[in-house]
Amino acid sequence: MTGLLAQQESGRVDMVALRADRRGRMFAAMEAHGLDALVLGRPANITFASGARQLWTAGARPFGPGCLVLAATGQVHLLSVWDEGIPPEIPHANLFGLKWNPVNLLTEIAAIPGVRTTRRVGTDSFGPGFEHFLAGFAPEAELVDATAAMTDARRSKSADEVALIERAIAIAETALTAMEDAAEPGASERDLLRAYLASIAQQGCTTPPTEGIVCATPRSGPVVLRRLPSERRLGPGQLVALNPGALYAGYEGGVGRTIGVEGVSPAASDLAARCRDALDSVIDRCRVGARGADLRTEGADVLIYGLGLGAEPPLIGSGGGADAELVGGMVLSVQAWAGREGTGGVLLRDVVHVVDGTPRVLSRYRSTLV
């Protein structure tokens, strides 16, 4: 049973040391970017800064002050009514309560020791009017963009972070097996989504990185990759893209393969081989210093994004990211998609660790279409 381990690793990885390492990287990035304070609202940034286990809700969260980090005191302050799921290095005095009245929230934040004298405050997002809120607790402060500082702190993973990502990948691989088992003629895309959700939940991880994990591709007409599982039913000979992910102790892993329902035609095998070659050639180029523009290929549509505490920059593909540069220690989701009218579509995805020299492929799953 991985249930008890799912949200808070307690075995192979020393979470106390991992959190200390993350805080060290965060404070170093603050210093490098000249930031006195951080105001964080993105859940992944809050997890990185605090290690708190937050209540998971689907979808992007609106920006608001969920966590404050002060360089002068070295303290992390957190919006949390209770200490459940809060690491012991964050004392009760550093927790501030949930308020619906912005004036009351302002009062709580203004009372944080050292906050009123900050001069350069970085935020991870912004909304019109937030400068007035900031002026209420840090009247002298200039409000600046902390996106680059948080990216610097987060993008290169420690060995322990990579170990957690590998655990997440293993959970996704298990779910992929469950999805394969469920992919019988007559089953719908949503049936496969159910098999996926049941598998990750049985492994103790109830929250999916995304539900966009299955696409039954058409045998005739235009072939596009859809990410909203529907009631479409699987038919014999159809190519079905399976692309599960999982979150383990906050870290994301995944793997993508395409299967043929009851057999694979020579044309499908050929398409799959082309897609695999394209993916392998891109993976081989995922090296330190490579730029987004270097990571294209003729044979397939490529989508690359960072993995860590969920999906993160860089984002390469979908028309963007040509200038994005790979740095050592990044972990990337690297996906190739190839569609052909009359055959269907093939999606393949692996998770790649950018290291000195040959990239390390962290995901492991057999070829399903050869």
């Binding site: 979808g59 309560g97 009245n101 966009g212 990211g321």
Partner: protein, 408 residues
């Protein structure tokens, strides 16, 4: 009596199934009305609940980081009958959206994506004041020089009172949520893990139809005394804390809380359950007190009443003590957000509540909490709407095991 017979909201009965094209048109009319009244040239929306309201677009349920990076964006141009949708999920666009209003994804959280969105906005809304809900820094830089104001001034009034179709969506969401909980209840025996309950809930939920989970399900064993923890900032009860693989034990008092989405609209399910045990007389009395508080609030619930009237009714019935948790409320609204206005009984204060006047189509998710320190407590929540002459319930789930065998 209020709550019975044919109920109407602004003269319209609540349909069994929502008329989605009509709902999309009504919502766009409301948005345009606000843009005109506030002399705004356009509206740019990044928050999922706002994009869903303005466009009716579907996107896959996702973790916040993924959902942010791959977020759909809506642009509403003053005077235009259809919204513009920038989305990574074109298959989720509503059927009626004109082809020239469907755009490639915008990626406003990244420098190149933000520049592209700013360029698109310059074409769609060349000049004038624009309301926007969030400005990730790259977009803030790309839109420097534009006259931007918070979108809340538009979104808050349009979302406050639901149309009959919106109410139908909420009722469908709640029904699916309740049906999935029916499969969970029998599993509540000693030794079951929280994550097993979640697994069964999700499996049944996704079998039921085109719905999506909104929150990692809560199955929180409650202490008898607050002092037993978790520690809280205000000294009141800690709730809701997240689920883990915790094993539930005989006699545990479980406060469950789940929420799902249908056509963008959220449900909200809350009950007190017991693991493998029948309620004690003390627990039964807590439930009865909860029911009395709920009844007393509904008794004053009708158009024209203020939120403060509801607060006062609840407090009077509870012997002068506020029957809700310090960091929450007596009641909240639900819509494309799982908690939205009207918020009743919050730290916004009595004067604020006195200005909130109930009107048809407003949603009240009543969630009183009866707590007797040393003996635990009872919590449940149900969704009501204010109707033309009273209220109607959008929830339909028993209070077992507290009412088992009762004629009620």
């Amino acid at each position: 009596m209020a709550g019975e017979g044919v109920v109407t909201v602004d003269g319209r009965p609540i349909p069994e199934a929502p008329d989605l094209p009509r709902m999309h048109r009504d919502r766009m009319d409301r948005l345009q009305e606000q843009l005109a009244a506030q002399e705004l040239a356009g509206l740019v929306l990044l928050w999922p609940s706002a994009v869903s309201y303005a466009t009716g677009a579907h996107s896959p349920g996702a973790d916040s980081g993924r959902a942010g990076l791959f977020r759909p964006v809506a642009v509403v141009v003053a005077g235009d009958a259809a919204p513009h949708l920038f989305t990574p999920y074109p298959e989720g666009a509503p059927p009626g959206l004109p082809a020239d209003h469907l755009h490639p994804p915008a990626f406003p959280d990244l420098a190149d994506g933000a520049a592209a969105l700013a360029a698109a906005l310059a074409e769609l809304v060349p000049k004038g004041r624009v309301a926007i809900d969030e400005l990730p820094h790259p977009l803030r830089a790309a839109l420097a020089g534009r006259d931007l104001v918070p979108a809340a001034s538009v979104m808050a009034p349009v979302k406050l009172r639901k149309t009959a179709d919106e109410l139908a969506c909420i009722r469908v969401a709640q029904r699916c949520n309740e049906l999935a909980m029916c499969d969970v209840m029998p599993l509540l025996r000693p030794g079951v893990r929280q994550t097993e309950l979640s697994s069964v809930f999700l499996d049944r939920l996704y079998e039921l139809g085109d719905v999506s989970n909104g929150i990692d399900p809560i199955w929180q064993p409650m202490p008898q005394c607050i002092a037993a923890g978790p520690w809280t900032t205000h000294g009141d009860v800690a709730f809701p804390t997240g689920s883990t693989g915790e094993v539930l034990r005989h006699g545990d008092v479980i406060w469950c809380d789940t929420g799902i989405h249908y056509e963008g609209y959220a449900s909200d399910f809350g009950r007190t359950w017991l693991v493998g045990a029948d309620p004690t007389p003390r627990q039964l009395s807590q439930y009865r007190r909860w029911q009395e508080v709920t009844d007393s609030v509904l008794a004053v619930c009708k158009p024209g009443a203020t939120a403060l009237d509801l607060d006062r009714a609840a407090i009077a019935t509870n012997g002068g003590k506020k029957p809700w948790i310090e960091h929450f409320y007596l009641s909240h609204g639900v819509g494309t957000d799982s908690a939205e206005m009207p918020l009743i009984g919050t730290d916004l204060g009595e004067a604020f509540d006195e200005q909130q006047v109930l009107a048809p189509g407003m949603i009240l998710v009543l969630e009183p909490v009866i707590w007797e320190d040393g003996y635990g407590g009872y919590r449940a929540e149900d969704i009501y709407t204010v109707t033309d002459d009273g209220w109607a319930s959008l929830s339909d789930f028993p209070y077992d095991p507290f009412t088992r065998g009762d004629a009620a």
